[in-house]
Amino acid sequence: MKLSRRDFFGAAGVGAAGVVALGAGGLAVGRAATTDEGTTTADAVEFHGDHQAGVVTPAQDRLHFVAFDVITDDRDQLVRLLQAWTDAARRMTRGQDAGPVGAVAGNEYAPPDDTGEAMGLPPAGLTLTIGFGPTLFRTADGTDRFGIADRQPAELVELPAFAGDELRPEISGGDLCIQACADDPQVAVHAVRNLARIGQGLVGVRWSQLGFGRTSSTSSDQTTPRNLFGFKDGTDNLKAQQPATLDRFVWVSGTGSWMDGGSYLVSRRIRMLVEVWDRQNLRDQQQTIGRTKGSGAPLGRTAEFDPVDFTAQVDGEPAVPPTSHVFLAHPTNSGTAILRRGYSFVDGSDGLGRLDAGLFFLCYQSDPATGFVQVQRNLRTDKLNEYVQHTSSAVFACPPGVTDEDDWWGSGLFG
């Protein structure tokens, strides 16, 4: 039994009056047009482009990430969903309602085509980035549900197991993912929720993760944020201002496949044992990371953006310890580079008096094997491992950008 939210028999008489309001949908009022702050599309990020937005776009403050499993086995239905999603994404990134009618302008007896919680909010820099998981191409038992198995890129394979992994399968993997980033958390959540609503019956949410604060900068115009260990994070990240490096390490090119212009996304939910960390003395914390906590300068140097010097010595010891995170993660020692785009999370508490907090690590690369996998293997002896646990893992192929109004997510793969 429950208290009924609909008045089962009370509908008498609402008839015609309400129904008359239908069909006003042509107006397609953009949310931005109604904001109090008088926001313009200036803070909208362009949805169309050679690459998807949300990779080198200056990292927004908030994240809602969602992984879906595809329920339908019907390729046409999946394609129609991807097209409907693209339309909705195009609209929402412009600050408009998810559907052409809008949250309140439609048929009184139909569920609205926008859920409404973003009414009055600006676009807030929203980006929506889609990725395709390995299981979309072949299910775990090898079934090619959508006739695309022969188009699965060799790079898109499940990640290997790493020492110390404590992965929970129910929050790992997924056939599809959407990364929604925005400067307003409600805008990001609204976007994911509406895509999930549109996909009802065809896809189901497998898992989802909120991130409340960015832990990286992807543009040299941004200040470096701090992660939950209190350290600046993103100092030595790949940045939008380094196009040649991005072409080499982030964007797929020259494969002649549907993935050219795309990138591979690895997600890892990393629990950070903040209570344990907070008991460590400042010196040990800095030796663990390899940078100072205050300015973020590499140990042995003075300013945040000073290059790391692995030859510097202090009292006859290397200034940046060989077991430190920066030492092992730096391109000099890992032999590669990745674009990090993670977010801090606190998902309540763990029942043992501790916060369930951490870093939802996201990184983009042109090949997971020579990107995340190579770095993470090199982090095997990282002192940081004592304070972190990886609890979820996924890998996705993010196709190139949607080029114009007629294009759609996955047109290269399914077209």
């Binding site: 039994m1 429950k2 009924s4 609909r6 008045d7 089962f8 028999f9 509908a11 008498a12 008489g13 609402v14 008839g15 015609a16 129904v19 008359v20 239908l22 069909g23 329920i71 048929n107 009184e108 007896y109 139909a110 569920p111 129910e170 009802q200 019956g201 065809l202 189901g204």
Partner: protein, 378 residues
């Protein structure tokens, strides 16, 4: 857009008169025309022999004789399993009749020994003059149809609750446990109707945590706890009596039912929301774990409302009508995997993946059903 104000108010007198005429499990499709014939249906546990497969359009009487060993039901279905008429609860050795008006068209008859599943089906072809109903008539027919359904369910609810209450008062735990999910089926099929009668739903169906401090907890779930948790029925008599009183009260109140077509559509969705809220999570039947019986019953009730509306839906949006047919069939198939005997496996036997599968198909179905109100209003 057509103004539909008049159709959204009650079908009124006709529905009521009908309801009054449909006691005792015998129900009429519509109208008060006399049946001109008597078609015999010989039902057993494995067969369902209908004396003819061809009829002229008009009013017909079916007399169903159950010579099997389990309780059976008999249905006449139109396209999309829209129920034209049914008799519930035909005990072994009993004969019951059904009067139903059938316009020309293709139908199916079904016996449901054990009262579950698709039943044993036979084709029934009706030829002759077929009249095209106007939109308003279609909606009125839907209300009449569904009102009749509610009436038949409430009658069965009274009968089955009486049997359950008798078993409880006799201290027969095994028998009461067997009857509990069956009696609840008839309640769960029409739960939104019961919810519209003020405090009857909490009195009949409250779970322990629904009851405010200081209020007395009554109804099915108290007896569920007694049967499965404590196994002690010595104090259960007054609760059982009260339950019977409340169910009888519901049956009386249902006579005053004044339905709107939109309420049917909303009720269909509400029943699915009920499944999503408490059945698919296993929260409804915390002691007996018979949640899948309730799942089936809510699904039946939702489908009954939608199939009543089906001609109106098909006229407004034919694609939606067929999408609804296949979504109901898909959810039914998903659930049927867990059928066991005359009922279902316990909720606790399901793996998380199986629950996920049920939830996925339910979401797909609800997405379609949520389109119905606009289709018929618009």
């Amino acid at each position: 857009m057509r103004a539909r104000r008049t159709t959204l108010v009650a079908a009124g007198a006709a529905a009521l008169a009908l309801l009054a005429a449909c006691g005792g499990g015998t129900s009429a499709g519509s109208g008060d025309t006399e049946a001109s014939d008597d078609i015999t249906v010989a039902a057993t546990d494995t067969t369902c022999d209908v004396s003819t497969g061809d009829l002229d359009a008009g009013t017909h009487q079916f007399t169903v004789t159950n010579s099997g060993s389990s309780v059976t039901e008999f249905y006449v279905y139109a396209e999309g399993d829209r129920i034209m008429g049914e008799v519930e609860n035909i005990a072994p050795g009993v004969a019951r009749s059904l009067v139903v008006e059938l316009p020309a068209g293709d139908y199916q008859t079904a016996c449901k020994p054990g009262m579950v599943g698709d039943g044993i089906r036979n084709a029934l072809t009706v030829t002759g003059e077929s009249q095209q109903l106007s939109d308003d008539e279609q909606l009125q027919a839907a209300v009449t149809d569904y009102t009749r359904y509610v009436g038949s369910q409430v009658t069965a609810l009274q009968e089955q609750t009486q049997a359950f209450v008798d078993a409880v008062k006799a201290g027969d735990v095994a028998q009461a446990q067997a009857l509990y999910p069956v009696a609840r089926t008839y309640y769960e099929r029409i739960e939104p109707v019961a919810e519209s009668f003020g405090d009857l739903d909490p009195k009949i169906d409250a779970r322990e945590n629904d009851v405010e401090e200081g209020d007395t907890w009554t109804g099915f779930h108290v007896l569920e706890r007694d049967l499965w948790s404590t196994g002690d029925l010595s104090q259960s008599g007054p609760v059982a009596d009260q339950l019977m009183t409340d169910v009888d009260d519901l049956a009386t109140q249902v006579q005053t039912l004044d339905l709107q077509p939109l309420a049917l559509a909303n009720g269909a969705l509400e029943l699915l929301d009920e499944i999503a809220a408490s059945k698919v999570t296993g929260e409804e039947e915390r002691y007996s774990h018979t949640d899948l019986w309730d799942f089936q019953a809510n699904l039946d009730g939702s489908q009954a409302a939608v199939t009543s509306l089906r001609p109106a839906i098909a006229a407004a949006d034919p694609d939606l009508a067929t999408a609804l047919d296949s979504a109901f069939a898909a959810t039914q198939a998903e659930l049927a995997q867990f059928a066991a005997g005359d009922g279902f496996v316990l909720y606790t036997a399901l793996t998380p993946e199986q629950v996920q599968g049920l939830s996925d198909s339910l979401n797909a179905l609800a997405a379609q059903v949520s389109q119905v109100p606009a289709a018929i209003a618009g």
